[in-house]
Symmetry: C2
Subunit: 119 residues, 2 copies
């Protein structure tokens, strides 16, 4: 991606931005996002978005999701409609995604999931 400033969501989109966190928790011994603080990332994002008054129709929805199937890059979250994927590590990463992308439409390039990483 070369242009890191995104345009507004398309007209008619129920949520301006909809971010989905993979909260998949494998119990078969395989690794999964839930083993890497995915829930904490979701909780923090949800709280920050609410606190900023950004929640709701026409604005932002922070959503739980099952396996997004990019386990090699986990924990991951994806922002639609832009289809920007993030791999995050800690709370400060979440803070930056909220402040930069969800509030201001500016992609956090350093956290973008490398394109080749899938399952």
């Amino acid at each position: 991606m070369t242009d890191t400033t995104l345009t507004a969501a398309p007209t008619g989109s129920y949520y301006g931005r909809h971010i989905f966190f993979c909260l998949n928790d494998r119990t078969n011994g395989e690794d999964s996002c839930a083993h890497h603080n995915a829930q904490a990332g979701f909780d923090r994002c949800k709280a920050l978005v609410k606190q900023a008054g950004l929640s709701g129709p026409g604005q932002v929805r922070v959503n739980k999701a099952g396996c997004l199937d990019r386990c090699a890059a986990g924990p991951v979250a994806v922002v639609y409609p832009e289809a920007v994927w993030y791999s995050f590590v800690d709370e400060s990463d979440i803070d930056e995604i909220v402040e930069s992308h969800l509030k201001n439409g500016q992609v956090v390039e350093r956290l973008v999931t490398p394109a080749h990483l899938g399952r």
Copy 2:
């Protein structure tokens, strides 16, 4: 929406189309998508997409999601990056969404969630 034929997914989108099914199951007595065959819709969509060889990166991902917060229109699913929302009832609705939208990029207008319906 006036033009019902959608263009291809944007370049760089990991999945060409990513459909999320609300599988939220409220246990507090309130209604939720899980009480209206949401799981069956998800299962059928997943099976049909796999059977059609459409699953995977560059193609289609069928995903579980938590509450999408449009309960009044449930059961619902949303297709990104187009941000098209569907309210479905039975298996034939799912079949039509897969065949028309997920395979051929043609919105199934009769199933599109009315814009005013939220939580």
